[in-house]
Point group: C2
Chain length 356, copies 2
């Protein structure tokens, strides 16, 4: 047991107790302990002495002015838990001192029992920084006395090559998608994708270009359409593409959302998917891939696997074992559904329709 | 600064260092420090001595055998973060020691900068237990030395009346829904709701009964249909209801999901919503209320507000201020859309159709 545990076993001393002992209000006691507000030095010292004598530090109240709240739940992303967490975060953000809300998911009573004590007594042993996108980011500045804490990055690439970053292999994902379209006999391939300031957009297009090059298939840059990550953009972009480039027989979409819009636009224009135009998405996001008919063939980045690896590497660091540095890329996988390949039964039909 | 901070500023001592110093493998060192596995007492002591001499305790590694990992992110419930977290949790669950993954959302760089140090050095100051449902639950057993840590419950009712629990007022929500249907001139009201083992199901129905009673409107228990929380159940239940009870002119649904199914079934049977049958849901869940036409009038439990209150009360406890005990209920609000009231333009039409 660390010093912390033993001390926190003593009877709870509240700020109220300290205030009473020092003969001041709770507000004054709080100010004095946090070194905030205007107080006579004599008052501040009386409060600090009372706090010391009562062993106040050892109770929950922060030595720094920081407060940590644990939100313990078994449901971490439901329509109930998310609004609750959001309201809670907004509330504490307005508090006079910094308050962080940590969310922990207990899978069941036993899991909770096993972990609760450790959670209440341990500070953090390691950190996983999860970025919003896979673009290049500077390393997160750690407080001086915590430079050494084991940490790594997932889903974000870091400028410092000594930092370990785990990333999906967007370029290989782009290759995979393109090879699949070629395997379906398609040659007139276009891509409708996300905003150019996403590195993933460039990498996926690069993977596509490389494969086409390797197969000596000419490619015009006008067949790359970039815009927002949305169904609407997919729909609009597909319309533009069909107008100026009706020969296109396959579309590689930068996301499943975009693919939804693309398929709707193709069908609205009287084209059949996949017979006339083969479509493939990216993400394998279930609420999108099953949203349209035909269901969407897509590329899966294997995010759960990325999370598993992050756990493996961080635990190795915490144990002091050797761990790799720099960016590690995880292969994407192809998930075949109906939007890309031609259903057997309509093969003959397709041959009738295909390129002339 | 607590003892913790000062010590953790020293050079990182890894388990490898301890193992080397004690002349054992990392695995043995780990076992010895965790009091696990079969080891000769002499070996265990050699490791513990080495750890003490190197000041190993003060490094990240747990004094208990518990490890805490912080997952720092700005996106807590996206299609990227959730699978990542899930994979990470699965991985660490298989680890030889208990590992908890705490999730913290940093809104921006500045927010992160302000909180990171506190997060890395502070143990937990208070706990909010979020239940999966509002049913009656026993209090969560806290480790003996943490009985006094400030805590409260949200979205769950606790058997111990000294515990503070914050709950939505399901009964009042049921009253609100029923009063709204009456205000629309409806008198033949039925309810299609969730499983009977949810307390909320009983409370919402009770609120409905009370209002009908107050208005001397007879009500038959056969007009309460309970089943799963699903669109499918809503559809099936509405079909059953229409067959055996065609006079019904309003349906109070236990959830917006159920309401979706109910509206689809009504329309499939040729009834108009709301002209022929008025429908109201529960939850104000955006992915449901806009999923059908007409959009769903519903009851909102005010979950963000519930979260804000949880924050207010817990911070008051942490400060040692007086806080209430027992269950506090928060009023629900009515959100009027098109499924309940009759659009002005079709009023005359409605009068023509309504009860002859």
């Amino acid at each position: 047991m660390s010093v912390y545990d033993e001390e926190s076993a003593s009877k709870t001393i509240t700020l109220q107790d300290v205030a009473t002992a020092a003969g001041v209000t709770v507000g004054t006691a709080s100010k004095a302990l946090n070194g905030q507000g205007k107080l006579r030095q004599e008052t501040r010292e009386r409060v600090l002495t009372a706090a010391r004598q009562l062993g106040f530090r050892t109770r929950g109240l922060p030595a720094t002015d920081h407060i940590t709240i644990l939100l313990l739940t078994s449901v971490i992303h439901t329509r109930f838990s998310i609004p609750l967490l959001t309201g809670l975060e907004q509330e504490v953000a307005q508090y006079e001192r910094p308050v962080s809300v940590l969310m922990w998911r207990a899978f069941n009573q036993e899991h909770q029992r096993q972990h609760l004590e450790g959670l209440l007594t341990r500070p953090v042993d390691g950190i996983i920084f999860m970025a919003d996108d896979t673009n290049l980011h500077p390393p997160v500045p750690l407080p001086p006395e915590h430079q050494q804490i084991p940490h790594l990055y997932v889903y974000g690439r870091i400028t410092d090559h000594r930092e370990l970053c785990l990333l999906p292999d967007d370029e290989q994902g782009g290759r995979l998608a393109t090879e699949h379209l070629l395997s379906q006999g398609r040659r007139e391939i276009a891509t409708i994708t996300g905003p150019l300031y996403f590195e993933a957009v460039h990498l996926r297009a690069r993977g596509m270009r490389q494969v086409l090059l390797e197969h000596d298939i000419p490619f015009s840059e006008t067949r790359i359409l970039t815009g927002p990550w949305s169904i609407e953009w997919g729909y609009k972009a597909a319309q533009q593409l069909l107008e100026r480039d009706p020969a296109v027989d396959a579309i590689f979409c930068g996301s499943d959302e975009i693919a939804c819009g693309v398929i709707e636009a193709l069908q609205a224009s009287g084209r059949r998917v996949p017979e006339d135009v083969s479509v493939i998405g990216f993400d394998n996001w279930s609420s999108m891939v099953y949203r349209v008919r035909p269901h969407i063939t897509t590329i899966d980045m294997g995010l759960p696997e990325l999370g598993r690896r992050a756990g493996q590497h961080l635990l190795a660091m915490i144990e002091g074992r050797e761990t790799p540095q720099g960016a590690l890329y995880q292969h994407c996988t192809l998930v075949v559904r109906d939007s890309s390949g031609v259903p057997k039964h309509s093969l003959s039909l397709k041959d009738g329709v295909q390129k002339k």
